[in-house]
């Protein structure tokens, strides 16, 4: 028997097997159903137990095992257990939230708490449009665990609820508070006698000075160029006011081509034109570019406040990284220089079909208690959305600068959420446009055009659920 015969016979066997397999087909989507709604654990609501937790109901928590690790979650679980000693807690941590949990969502048996984060994050648009996430409204109105006289909602920083809200319903608890800005090394600047520029013209002048000193003014993650969309959009919002962001989030026609966006793109094109970007940056990924920055090969980099912990291992002693807002375009800016993008990040959710839904909400109440939040900040050096959770915690240099920047920004802080609404728009489409723009292959007009085309393609795709926000 030669190879071809084997192939032929296998094909025949495959045909014979088809009817049998046909019976199996459909199980990926056939499971689940709504008949198990009656199995959820419910306790009696009281002042002590505002969410109606059944005290002996088991709780399953799945944590994204990324930059923050899983130890902080174990501490929160211990706090929950302290309150409900009879509850059995099942803890697991994975880097592949998506692949691990997808079958369980389909099956109708998801865990009670999911930390939906990382590269393997489940697209929120898909989850929300399939009603897979529980409404966290009850949690907001419940009294805080250890801040007397306040509801959970009262204890949160401004903007924390809006970020996780879809069509007015609060569905996703973004636990950390992240600032996005431009970073530099305080030491490098002090050694060279440079100081951070507050206006764009001064920034360009400083770039010239830095380049003359033999250091590249900028570097960026060429493989994830969306990192550079952050300061660019921030510049536009500071110039034109928060409505610039609302228009982009709401997929309004030509939102990417607004005057403010044009002004910002023209301004940022300067650093490309004048070659103020480290050679080879388009070929670097985020780790490589951040490392080059830590090695002093470049002066500025755009990143969120996770940068310090991400770079812990390669940051030289005394580097003292500092975050700063984007420079103002001019005196006509609607927002002051101090205004910075601050937003809640690190999403947690309770699946709508969780068996112990009340327990999941209660677990969030534990996370949002002062004790829970302080423990988190201490363990992973990151801010939480709980106001004042940094009190009495020793912060590393970079994070302290983040707190300072957020304080200075105060009510002028701004944010955008199109990346949460439409993951593809930022991750793929704007990302690709930024790559072309910051490598100098296209100019500002083409850049905004490509972004707008991406936004339009999302707007026209009827299979993607659309969201609107007002402010």
């Amino acid at each position: 028997m030669n190879r071809r015969d084997i192939l032929r016979r296998t094909a025949a066997a495959g045909l014979l097997a088809t009817p049998a397999a046909g019976l199996l087909a459909g199980c990926a989507t056939g499971g689940g159903g709504d008949d198990d709604a009656g199995d959820t654990y419910k306790g009696t609501k009281s002042d002590q137990n505002p969410l109606g937790v059944k005290e002996d109901a088991p709780l399953e928590v799945v944590i994204f095992n990324g930059g923050f690790g899983e130890e902080y979650a174990k501490a929160h679980e211990a706090m929950y257990k302290e309150k409900y000693p009879k509850a059995e807690i099942k803890h697991s941590a994975t880097q592949e939230i998506n692949k691990t949990l997808q079958p369980r969502f389909v099956d109708g048996t998801p865990p009670d708490v999911v930390n939906n984060s990382g590269a393997g994050q489940i697209d929120f648009n898909g989850l929300v449009s399939q009603n897979a996430i529980a409404d966290l409204g009850d949690l907001l109105n419940a009294p805080s665990l250890d801040i007397p006289g306040k509801t959970v909602k009262d204890t949160l920083l401004p903007g924390a609820v809006e970020v996780g809200s879809y069509d007015g319903k609060f569905l996703v608890l973004n636990y950390t508070y992240t600032a996005y800005g431009i970073w530099h090394s305080t030491k490098l600047f002090a050694d060279r006698g440079w100081s951070y520029a507050k206006t764009w013209d001064e920034h360009i002048a400083l770039c010239k000075q830095i380049k003359a000193a033999g250091i590249a003014p900028w570097t960026y993650a060429g493989k994830h160029p969306r990192y550079m969309s952050w300061p660019l959009i921030a510049t536009a919002i500071k110039f034109g006011g928060p409505s610039v962001a609302t228009a982009i989030d709401n997929l309004e026609p030509n939102a990417w081509k607004s005057d403010a966006m044009k002004a910002a793109a023209d301004a940022w094109h300067q650093i490309v034109k004048d070659k103020y970007i480290l050679d080879g940056s388009p070929g670097l990924d985020h780790v490589q570019s951040q490392t080059a920055w830590c090695q002093g090969k470049a002066a500025f980099i755009s990143c969120g406040s996770w940068l310090e912990s991400e770079q812990k291992k390669v940051t030289p002693e005394g580097f003292n990284m500092t975050i700063q807002p984007t420079p103002s375009l001019g005196s006509g800016d609607k927002l002051p220089f101090e205004a910075i993008r601050g937003t809640a990040g690190e999403p947690f959710m309770v699946p709508a079909k969780a068996k112990n839904l009340a327990g999941g909400l209660e677990y969030f109440r534990v996370m949002l208690s002062k004790k829970g939040a302080q423990d988190f900040t201490r363990k992973v050096s990151s801010l939480t959305i709980v106001a004042g959770s940094t009190e009495g915690v020793d912060l590393p240099f970079g994070l302290a600068s983040v707190v300072k920047a957020l304080d200075a920004s105060g009510s002028n802080g701004f944010n955008w959420v199109y990346n949460n609404y439409y993951r593809k728009l930022e991750r793929e489409l704007v990302d690709a446009a930024c790559g072309e723009f910051f490598s100098g292959r296209i100019g500002p007009a083409e850049f905004l055009d490509q972004c707008q085309k991406g936004a339009d393609s999302i707007a026209q795709d009827s299979s993607i659920k659309k969201y609107k926000r007002t402010a």
Partner: protein
């Protein structure tokens, strides 16, 4: 002994066939069914939409762009890999001449054979990470060498003109070793006296390869061709690790498009399944075509 044959065959055949049907055939069939729905992947609800996904696919520029890259891979990777594989294998098993009689490889054959096989031992992800650093625009091996001899240092993976070709080169590099060993083994099955006769007739190495070795290795080459064609339609891991399809989709492949549609930036499992179904038929046609096109008379040694 005839009566004992069938129970034996059945015992050995049923468990693997069952496993194959449950874990391979049934997901395939499910993919066909899912491709006709708008399933978003995180609920049990999916509405049938008929062939709407395939219609969208027909007008999806990104999918066509990815297919174009796969077509390039398909046209280039097998030719380069098999060509290099044949060349190295020939040199290793009969390249040595030095005027002596007999058929031997070049000096150091054993070492070469081992070195060529190294990439095959590494996992694809490791290969991707390794080459990502080699292509590092500032501190990479490649640009270091180029700079040392005073040549310009391109950005390689960061430039849409070069990114795709850089990954293609890695694909060839990672595969050649296996084919060197495969062809080498097949060559050692060719009777030595044929070569000795050719040698006596004064044939050059090139003639020997073209007139004797390749025709006698044709079956093996054909198998290699099919494997490589299937690999060229995939290319997912290297691309995802090294460029993630970028810059500006210049190195996108169909496998990555499918992954991004289902698990990456969206959760459209119905649409992703439709891409999968198309890929399935493409792979099947390519395999059949390769078998057909390469059909020749079989030579049996006795």
């Amino acid at each position: 002994m005839r009566h004992g044959k069938y129970p034996l065959i059945v015992t050995f055949l049923v468990p693997p066939v069952l496993l194959y049907v449950i874990f391979v055939v049934s997901p395939y069939l499910q993919a066909f069914q899912i491709s006709t729905t708008d399933w978003l992947g995180y609920s049990a609800e999916a509405d049938p939409v008929g062939l709407a996904n395939f219609e969208t696919l027909l007008h999806d520029g990104r999918v066509w762009n990815a297919l174009k890259n796969n077509a390039l891979l398909l046209a280039i990777v097998p030719v380069l890999t098999i060509g290099l594989g044949l060349f190295f294998a020939t040199m290793l098993s009969m390249g040595g001449r030095k005027g002596r009689a007999g058929v031997t490889g070049v000096r150091g054959t054993a070492v070469y054979r081992m070195v060529y096989f190294f990439p095959q031992v590494l996992s694809v992800v490791i290969i991707a990470l390794l080459w990502k650093e080699v292509y590092h625009p500032n501190s990479g091996l490649l640009n270091g060498a180029l700079r040392a001899v005073g040549l310009p240092a391109p950005t390689w993976l960061g430039d849409p003109r070069t990114a795709f070709w850089c990954v293609l080169a890695v694909m060839v590099w990672a595969n050649v070793g296996f084919y060197v060993v495969l062809f080498g083994a097949a060559m050692s099955a060719i009777p030595r006296d044929i070569y000795e006769a050719v040698l006596l007739d004064g044939a050059s190495r090139w003639t020997t390869l073209r007139r004797i070795t390749i025709p006698l290795l044709w079956d093996t080459v054909q198998v290699g061709w099919i494997y490589l064609a299937i690999a060229a339609l995939d290319g997912f891991i290297l691309i995802q690790q090294m460029t993630n399809g970028g810059p500006n989709f210049s190195s996108d492949v169909i496998g990555l498009r499918m992954y991004e549609t289902a698990f990456g930036s969206e959760s459209k499992f119905g649409y992703a399944s439709a891409i999968g179904v198309v890929l399935f038929f493409l792979t099947l046609s390519v395999a059949v075509l390769a078998l057909r096109a390469a059909r020749r008379d079989r030579i049996e040694y006795s």
